[in-house]
């Protein structure tokens, strides 16, 4: 259509590699919009509502970053990415960041040249069984038929778990989550295994969720978090510390309700530094003093985002568990703002 498009199409490969380190922050500011890669729909984490507005736990991270950088939580272009296209979308610059239920692993971090800026959800693989089966522990599943999504890490985790416990199982391969629900309900398998948050979402959709239980064993570590490209430390820092600001806000008791009050100045120096009434932390990475104030204001602190999208009062009904603050027995911990 436009000249740039045609020229681009004719330009050859080599040019691309060298320009990767360009400042993402400048691009985002110039564009006036943050391009944020999300999933193509995952209950509680990312989905458009009836009016086309995206909402969810991952979406809230995008909005917080947009609020910090562009002073507008709605200045986000959400780019749905599938499990197959997500990494190229990020590597090619189609999106500025990815907040898409992506497990932080060695190869993704090192080999694919991404930077995971933190962990916003500690997930792990679990099992769901019908109550009528009378199973209370995953160790009782010897000889069970298991519905499992093929080609995922869950498949490998499952094999490891059964082997290390000297048990046997029969896999029923399935392709998508929707298919998993159907197969499991139709009794094609004794148990369904996937990430615990996914199990909760699946169970919430059942007509009689009470007839099914999620077993207590978690057989793998799935730390999920937002990620950016290697090579632009400044942008990585912005996304990392936006997430940390949300966590610290919960720790310091800053909520969307009292933030305006606290932003006038308090006698807690860390709150003052975070909200920009003392010092100039934002200036160190090219933002203004109010960046964290806006990020927190966008959707509330970490705990508020959790409760609103996936917490116990939502259909998903996830308890904080590992995702509670470190002060409350969880793993969520932010380095200090100093």
């Amino acid at each position: 259509m436009k000249k740039t498009i045609l020229l681009g199409a004719l330009t050859v490969a080599g040019l691309a590699a060298g320009t990767a380190a360009a400042a993402t922050l400048d691009d985002v500011k110039a564009r006036g919009k943050l391009n944020c890669g999300v999933s193509t729909g995952l209950v509680g984490f990312a989905a458009p509502d009836a009016s086309g507005e995206w909402a969810g736990y991952d979406v809230a991270i995008c909005r917080a970053v947009a609020a910090a950088v562009l002073a507008d939580p709605t200045a986000v272009e959400f780019v749905p990415t599938t499990g197959k296209t997500r990494f190229t979308a990020l590597a090619s610059g189609e999106v500025d960041m990815l907040a898409r239920n992506t497990t932080w692993t060695f190869t993704r971090d090192v080999d694919l040249k991404f930077e995971f800026v933190g962990i916003n959800y500690y997930d792990g693989q679990g099992f769901m069984v019908p109550k009528s089966l009378g199973v209370t522990s995953a160790k009782d599943l010897d000889g069970a038929t298991v519905c499992i999504q093929t080609g995922t890490t869950t498949e490998l985790n499952l094999a490891d778990f059964f082997r290390s416990n000297n048990m046997s199982y029969e896999p029923v391969p399935i392709e998508t989550n929707a298919e998993a629900q159907q197969q499991y309900l139709a009794g094609a398998c004794d148990t369904l295994t996937t990430d615990a948050s996914g199990l909760a979402a699946t169970r919430a959709a059942f007509e009689n969720p009470g007839d099914h239980v999620v077993l207590p064993e978690i057989i793998s570590k799935e730390p999920l978090g937002p990620l950016v490209r290697h090579g632009d430390q400044q942008w990585g820092d912005i996304v990392r510390w936006t997430l940390n600001a949300l966590i610290t806000a919960e720790e310091l008791g800053i909520t969307s309700a009292n933030i305006d009050e606290l932003a006038k100045g308090t006698n807690n120096p860390e709150i003052n530094r975070l909200l920009g009434t003392e010092g100039d932390l934002g200036g160190m990475f090219g933002l203004d003093k109010q960046w964290a104030y806006r990020a927190i204001k966008a959707g509330g602190n970490f705990g508020e985002i959790f409760e609103k999208n996936i917490g116990e009062n939502t259909p998903l009904g996830l308890s904080r568990g590992l995702n509670a603050l470190w002060t409350e027995g969880g793993l969520i911990y932010s380095p200090p703002f100093r």
Partner: protein, 436 residues
């Protein structure tokens, strides 16, 4: 002898009037006897089929008709169903279609601009009318020329001068071709025309439209491709694919039969390569691989990339379909054209193509229908076509777990489009029927 009475008492002299055939061989009963119960085997088969149809309908119809249209979530639906029909009744929850209808149709396209794709579709039919139906008035051909430029402008928006500039490219190409062809030769003229048009599009068109836009800013709001979704996306992809792959397919088919070695091997190579690769691979190339090749920051629209891939893919199939039609023509037709002293293009236009295309109508339309349905594959690369939207809707907490209603509705809409296309092809075959 006339009316004379016969001397033989038992011989009738007057003709009997015609009697109606026995009731068992006419009307509904006769038809059923003849077609459904003509012998024991067909009677058994008829009864079995009737039972099959009954049991399917008995399951599906109550489920559909009892469906709930007013609810805001799957759970609310289930409660209403349990209340009105009793616990354990299975019924559809059409409320999801009602709530998300516009999203399934237009995706994220801004709702106050729905008139734009609608108008584009209406204009498209106006443009197709003179091509598809010979009874349509000839002046409607104006639409056929204008809509390829107006349509995209309506969908994507921006300044009016962009489509004008694109159109001027063709005009320039045409005149350069004509002028050079007169001075040198046909081939040189063709090449010069193409080069002139490309030079215009690449280097001058944007400056031209920018200049005019600054003088006379006629523009409508720009809508990014990302906002395209639902059936609007499927139809946009399908129609561009169909409209572009048909002429491209003809050219490829002719190229494949050409006597020029380079042209022939290029065409064969292209066709065989594209046909040897699954469409989904090409889509991945469009969405993933091109991103690596193009310089960072290049604005090469994802939908445009997908359109190109779909067009190339179906052009290769189209070429083979048309080649089938060309092969089916008797050799004598080609020789007769030569004997009349027609040039190559005259022979193709007047004798070969009309017959070859007529022969291949059913296959051409099948390819089109296949292409239209294949557009759903774009959901795999993250574009929000109807299937992609079904997934997005399912991932709302309110509609998590809803399956049949969404996919059933999408299948129904696809069926309407494909059925219309197939009926049109049958109409066209009847109209062009010249045999006896």
């Amino acid at each position: 002898m006339g009316g004379a009475k016969s001397s033989i008492g038992y011989v009738r002299t007057e003709m009997l009037g015609e009697k109606p055939p026995p009731p068992t061989s006419v009307g509904v009963i006769g038809w059923m006897r003849q077609n459904l119960f003509s012998d024991i085997l067909s009677t058994i088969l008829t009864l079995l089929s009737l039972y099959l149809v009954y049991s399917v309908l008995a399951g599906v119809l109550p489920w559909m008709l009892k469906g709930i249209w007013n609810a805001s979530s799957l759970n609310e639906c289930r409660e209403i169903i349990a209340e009105s029909y009793g616990e354990g009744t299975e019924a559809a929850c059409w409320a999801v279609i009602r709530e998300r209808f516009w999203q399934l149709m237009y995706g994220f396209y801004p709702s106050d601009m729905y008139w734009r794709p609608n108008l584009a579709l209406i204009l498209l039919f106006a443009a197709l009318a003179p091509v598809l139906f010979d009874k349509a008035p000839r002046w409607m051909l104006v639409f056929s020329v204008a809509v390829p430029f107006i349509g995209p402008w309506l969908l994507w928006g921006g300044t009016i001068w962009t489509p004008v500039a694109a159109f001027l490219g063709f005009v320039i190409g045409f005149f350069v071709n004509r002028y050079v062809a007169r001075a040198t030769g046909t081939l040189a003229g063709l090449l010069a025309g193409v080069v002139a048009a490309i030079v215009w599009w690449l280097f001058l068109a944007e400056a031209f439209s920018d200049a005019l836009a600054s003088v006379l800013p006629l523009a409508i709001e720009t809508v990014e491709s990302r906002k395209f979704g639902g059936f609007m996306l499927a139809i946009t992809l399908g129609i561009t694919g169909i409209a572009l792959s048909f002429p491209l397919g003809i050219v490829l088919a002719l190229g494949r039969q050409s006597n020029l070695v380079i042209v022939k091997s290029l065409c064969v190579g292209f066709i065989e390569f594209i046909r040897g690769v699954p469409l989904i691979t090409l889509l991945f190339v469009a969405s993933v691989l091109l991103n690596y090749f193009l310089p960072k920051g290049t604005e090469f629209d994802i939908i445009l990339r997908v359109m190109i891939m779909i067009t190339l893919f179906s052009a290769a199939y189209m070429a083979e379909v048309i080649r089938g039609g060309l092969a089916a023509l008797p050799r004598g037709q080609y020789e007769a054209a030569d004997a009349l002293g027609l040039t190559y293009w005259q022979a193709q236009r007047l004798i070969i193509m009309p017959q070859a295309l007529k022969i291949s109508i059913p296959s051409i339309v099948s390819t089109f229908i296949g292409l239209f349905k294949d557009t759903t594959l774009v959901s795999i690369i993250g574009l929000a076509d109807p299937i992609g939207w079904a997934k997005l809707i399912q991932s709302n907490a309110e509609w998590n777990g809803i399956v049949w209603e969404l996919y059933g509705f999408i299948a129904f809409v696809f069926f309407i489009f494909c059925y219309l296309m197939s009926r049109y092809s049958m109409y066209l075959e009847r109209k062009l029927q010249t045999g006896h």
